[in-house]
């Protein structure tokens, strides 16, 4: 295999500096093979057990059929994808290559220049490094670990080995298997017992890593009584030149702990976004997924919580926004494996301009999981007659002494609402955007302030030019 330089591959070379003169150092050939997987592991200088895990995952991937439910995935060509591009090579793309619509959205959102390059995959987020440094010192004193996954594996191998792939086994589904074989980047978070991390940990601020890689892998361990809020992504569009994004996120929330994981996904409109996210919650623990899906061509994502012991609580709050040519197939999965567990799924979807959304949810109550409570509420808003929304609420209840509620609504923005708001001086677009922002308000108010503001701004942008 042609490799120009592999001597110091690893974190140290994950520089975000954008230099036109850097030539690609290593790009795996297109397509997936054992050789490619071995090369990835070798470049990262991984322990043997991780290479074995990757190779076993590759075999799982090859055996697993493509999912035939959900969105149409037939256009994915696994032979036409680079499975590993070293991060500095990603940045060898030029700012000129970034599509104009993405640049103009950056403008409208007021994203600073340095951040634009970062989000477009062509530069570093210099300013944030400073912020991150001070955050990290504070966290380190408390024993909190917040690293990219590759560094996590190097510096905390025992912890990683103990938990990696235990929540989402490599054979869980075809895309989890793919991720397990070729993963790179992502976050490793460890919060010691009793530590409450009082600021959200934002992948966005993390130093020296390509956190928005194609196959990133995140593992979060929250010890008893601890709390952490992890925020992934950003509301600005993320430009990917590759057509497939397939992440795996595993979270372990131990007794009495609480974890919230917030994602705002805004991939560019040609990306297949197929992500597996799963958490286990033990006694009296709480796991909350807050999940916003705006971009991509196709998204299939169903954050799951396995409620393993009494008192565990799981929540999924999700928003999906589908415009022209987009299919957002999103939802949640709750497994009540113990008595006295509770779950809440709140899903809001918006379809416009021929876009398609689906809520796909699965609530399972295992035998003897008595006195469980599960609540599902999914609301769909259609902006026009060309758009579509579907609801697939699966329930598998094997215990009779439980309380299960399910409510689903489909509504349209009413002419009366738009007329009323216009009679106060708002333009038709502003009126539509306001009705939509009201529709998703129950979820937006759960976001950190800056994300909530950007989210509303983004909805306005989505509506611009959509009338008449």
């Amino acid at each position: 295999m042609a490799v120009t330089s592999v001597d110091h591959v690893g974190l140290d070379t994950y520089k975000f500096g954008f230099h036109d003169d850097i030539k690609p150092v290593y790009t795996s050939p297109k397509g997936l093979s054992e050789a490619v997987v071995r090369e990835i592991s070798r470049q990262k200088d991984e322990p043997a057990w991780m290479l074995d895990f990757r190779l076993e995952s590759l075999r799982q991937f090859e055996r697993k059929p493509m999912p035939t439910w959900g969105a149409d995935l037939s256009r994915i060509d696994f032979d036409d994808i680079h499975y590993y591009i070293r991060p500095q090579d990603r940045q060898a793309r030029s700012w000129d290559d970034v599509p104009d619509d993405i640049k103009s959205t950056f403008d409208k959102l007021g994203i600073p220049q340095a951040e634009r390059k970062f989000l477009a995959g062509v530069g570093a987020q210099y300013d944030s490094e400073v912020v991150y440094h001070s955050i990290r010192e504070d966290l380190e004193k408390q024993g909190v670990v917040f690293l990219d996954m590759d560094s996590g594996l190097r510096e905390h191998e025992d912890l990683v080995r103990q938990h990696f792939g235990t929540i989402i086994p490599n054979g869980d589904n075809k895309f989890a298997a793919l991720n397990s074989a070729v993963w790179s980047g992502g976050s490793f978070v460890y919060v010691p017992a009793g530590v409450s991390v009082d600021i959200p940990l934002q992948a966005y601020f993390r130093i020296n890593t390509q956190n928005m890689g194609q196959f990133e892998r995140t593992l979060i361990i929250v010890e008893p009584g601890a709390y952490v809020h992890y925020v992934e992504g950003c509301t600005a569009p993320v430009y990917a030149s590759d057509a497939l994004h397939s992440a795996v996120v595993e979270i372990i929330v131990k007794e009495g702990a609480r974890c919230r994981y917030t994602t705002i996904q805004n991939w560019s409109s040609d990306v297949f976004n197929l992500v597996t996210k799963r958490a286990v919650a033990y006694r009296d623990a709480t796991m909350e997924w807050v999940d916003g899906n705006l971009g991509s061509k196709v998204t299939m994502k169903y954050p799951a919580v396995y409620l393993m012991e009494p008192g565990a609580h799981g929540e999924v709050l999700s928003i999906a926004f589908a415009g022209s040519g987009q299919h957002q197939d999103a939802g949640a999965k709750m497994v009540h494996a113990a008595p006295d567990t509770s779950s809440l799924i709140t899903s809001k979807s918006i379809s416009r301009n021929g876009g398609r959304t689906a809520y796909r949810g699965y609530v399972q109550v295992l035998p003897e999981a008595e006195r469980c409570r599960a609540n599902v509420e999914c609301d769909a808003l259609l902006i026009d007659d060309r758009s579509r929304s579907d609801t697939y609420p699966y329930m598998d209840i094997e215990e009779s002494n439980v309380t299960i509620q399910h409510e689903a609504t489909v509504s349209k923005v009413s002419d009366q609402q738009v007329y009323y708001l216009m009679s106060r001086g708002l333009t038709e677009e502003q009126a539509m955007a306001l009705v939509i922002s009201g529709f998703i308000e129950p979820i937006v108010k759960e976001l950190p302030m800056e994300y909530a503001v950007e989210m509303n701004r983004l909805i306005e942008l989505q509506m611009e030019g959509s009338i008449g």
Binding site: G425, L426, F439, E441
Partner: protein
């Protein structure tokens, strides 16, 4: 655009609103059939009529509701022909409609909506603090609790709260002409008084008002300068405030008989 430019036309006594020969249809049914009406700046005019006479049709046609089709006639507001303008353009020009049945907008707080609406008619955005002061001031005038501003627009409001909220918007946005469409319906006597006091306060600042109502009740508190009787899509009589009492005593039958005789 300044919210107070109605004062210019007040100075020379020109009508703020001038309607000539207005015909309006809803679907195939013609509801307004040649309506003429002038409302000068700073005056309060009452438009009274029985159910089905076209009162709410006039309100919605003036505001530009897409379901109300103007088939003939003209409407000038502050000297400008407005029938070709969109609803929001009319609003920004200074026209306001207090709705009989305001729409509910879940998830949108009264305060944030009103700030957006106020900014829509200003060249420069009002600061958050200045807006806060303005809003609290107007809410106090209408005897509304401050937490009302944090509720979702019209969602779960009682009939009276909705009406009061409409008048709050009127007070904050300060248009040049306000159409009050059956604002008295659903109000108890205390709320009616508060709403009327609010309108009277605004009236002092040169607001033109067109009060649309079936009954005398509201007009006991908002005393009109002129009264117009609307029967079957036309103004059949105009007069001073004494007309209100005559209508209350005699009802609309006299006019309706006259109209049906005419048409027979």
């Amino acid at each position: 655009m300044s919210a107070t430019n109605g004062q210019m036309s007040a100075a020379n006594g020109q009508p703020t609103l001038s309607i000539r020969g207005l015909h309006v249809a809803v679907g195939d049914v013609e509801i307004l059939r040649g309506l003429d009406l002038d409302v000068p700046c700073g005056e309060v005019h009452a438009l009274m009529g029985p159910n089905g006479s076209g009162k709410s049709t006039l309100a919605n046609a003036l505001m530009g509701h897409p379901d109300y089709e103007v088939t003939a006639g003209s409407v000038h507001f502050k000297g400008q022909a407005v029938l070709d303008l969109e609803t929001d353009e009319r609003a920004r020009l200074g026209l306001f409609l207090a709705f009989q049945y305001p729409a509910e907008i879940p998830g949108v707080r009264v305060a944030s909506f009103l700030r957006m609406a106020l900014n829509a008619r200003r060249s420069e955005e009002i600061s958050v603090m200045a807006f806060r002061r303005l809003l609290l001031d107007k809410m106090k005038m209408l005897k509304m609790a401050p937490r009302f501003a944090e509720r979702y627009l019209n969602e779960g409001f009682s009939g009276g709260e909705k009406k009061r909220n409409e008048i709050l918007q009127l007070a904050v946005l300060q248009p040049d002409l306000a159409i009050l469409d059956e604002t008295d319906s659903g109000l108890d006597i205390d709320a009616l008084r508060i709403v009327a006091d609010g309108v009277n306060t605004l009236r002092a600042s040169n607001l033109g008002v067109l009060v649309i109502t079936h009954y005398q009740r509201l007009l006991n508190y908002i005393v009109p300068d002129r009264v117009h009787v609307l029967i079957d899509g036309r103004v059949v009589e105009s007069g001073g405030k004494e007309l209100v009492h005559r209508l209350e005593a005699e009802g609309y039958e006299r006019y309706e008989d006259a109209v049906s005789r005419q048409e027979a």
